[in-house]
Symmetry: C2
Amino acid sequence: MSPGERVLLQFPELDPIVAVSATAHADALAHHDRLTKPRGALGRLESLGAQLSAISALVPPPVPQHPAIAVFAADHGVLREGVSPWPQEVTAQMVANFTAGGAAINVLARQAGATVAVVDVGVVGDLDAAPTLRLCKVRPGTDNLRVAPAMTHDDAIATIRVGILIGQELLAAGADLLVGGDMGIGNTTSSAAVIAALTGTPAERVTGRGTGIDDAMLGHKIVVIRDALHRMQTAHPDDAGDPLVVLTEVGGLEIGALAGFYLAAAAARIPVIVDGVIALAGACLAHAFEPLVADYLVAGHRSTEPAAQVALVWLELDPLVDLSMRLGEGSGAALAVPIVQAAAAIMRDMATFDSAGVSDKAG
Amino acid sequence: MSPGERVLLQFPELDPIVAVSATAHADALAHHDRLTKPRGALGRLESLGAQLSAISALVPPPVPQHPAIAVFAADHGVLREGVSPWPQEVTAQMVANFTAGGAAINVLARQAGATVAVVDVGVVGDLDAAPTLRLCKVRPGTDNLRVAPAMTHDDAIATIRVGILIGQELLAAGADLLVGGDMGIGNTTSSAAVIAALTGTPAERVTGRGTGIDDAMLGHKIVVIRDALHRMQTAHPDDAGDPLVVLTEVGGLEIGALAGFYLAAAAARIPVIVDGVIALAGACLAHAFEPLVADYLVAGHRSTEPAAQVALVWLELDPLVDLSMRLGEGSGAALAVPIVQAAAAIMRDMATFDSAGVSDKAG
């Protein structure tokens, strides 16, 4: 049984994830060579356009008109290890900030013409209802992954189901470009552990300063992640690379939901822009379920977190924006929305040498 | 007499160029620290927002609503040295493509909500009138800069005047963010020579493949640029760093216009996004006239041309987008327009810790 078939069995609500179109990819590159510019002169914009063609199997690809952002929020039991200077209640406070429209992701979404849905996958405490808030709490936060599994196997399945559901809802409502974001105090610790486990990278190479921690806290965070990985490998000597095991043992509820969100996008053959380190942890999980997912992912930006770099290399993704950002929420991915739209519009709207009567170069 | 006063004397139509506001810059950074995000988490977006505050002397800075792109077009006598595989008539053909709306810059401008004005500063041949075409021809192309001055001193002054005029016209029409672009077969040769002359960089370190030339043509292009620089230094042993001398001897008509365009933006205290290597040659000239101009410049993207990298370092500019582009036309700068708008919108629209009731981090 192929990995893709395994995914399907576990998530029957998901359509089969198929390979992107190699034919459309090649046709897109040939189309680019007829446009009125030196060949290759639009650089990464050309390869991005070809990816959009491969995803849609259309040349030119559709220009996304309805980008939709989902921000998945959850709390983390590992916070009691002292891995962040921020108190846990900030997760719920920021959810309220998202639903009130005052956070960075709200501003960047408005600039990009994108909607923002906020999803409670596992925030501690009951959240006030709000029009843009979806209540899908699997459980109120994870357990402390340093000393125990972050969640149960059933919880892990449930978080992925939340992500699939939200992705499918947004697509059914007309979204043609998805962006996943995150909120969860402590979640760079879990993300680094997930990425370390799936890519086989030592704790000290994936651990970063997150929202801004000092050297002492950074050293401690490395120990916490190392202990978590060791605990997982001891408990699962034979299946420590299984994405469900990794999610259960060292994951986060929002990270599982992000993995499901990416699976839903790929199953629907819709491009999805990946944000920073938490989103990339979800993307690595989705890739571990089904490697074909990677071709549907567009890396929005290069986060300053070291685990983000490890994940980008592992997923073979080349980010569009590199602005030393480390906020999460989907903020870096939201900044990349106009670039994705531009790449598609170039292919749809530019004149060809023939149509414009422009001479081609000699030789 | 200060360099700024010298500029003023030569271009009485220009308001004085003054330093950006250090107070507003500091206030902007302090404002960023109150917004609901970890301090510094928006990275380059924060420093960009602070620059927009410094330019406008307002915190938050205005969010640009009316970006305007001017594409300056001209021909180059050095083309007869065989420095490009493209025939000269492509310059005029691409101007027609711009006015018909089919070029990359047209597509990217539409995506960014920007207008495109096309300016004939020195295309060979008479161009057909078009609504978006401004006819400001100083002369039909430059002379061959390898063997003679590219233009006269009066021509050089006239090209700068064209750029100032166009900038002032766009600003009078309501533009609140400017973008300069270029079209001119052969103009990477002139741009590399200008940047080499002003920054004191050897020819082989500024010469690139432009629109895509082979190793033999690249070697020849280096010789052409070296000869031009040697000719200029022999003719002007004492004033080879004077921007008017550099423009006259090895410049291009569109490059001079771009320099004037940047001077006009700075004099009006309006931000202007710089494109790739040709635009950067104009920016280096503007900086040589008046160093205060640099603080009004936003580097749109990192071109793959080596002279662009030399100019970015010399101007101390950190580009927003790095997508291996090398097209010109203002295309890389146009892609940066939404990022500039986002940086300003973040400062205007994000909630503060106090207003949103979000707890700050400990310590």
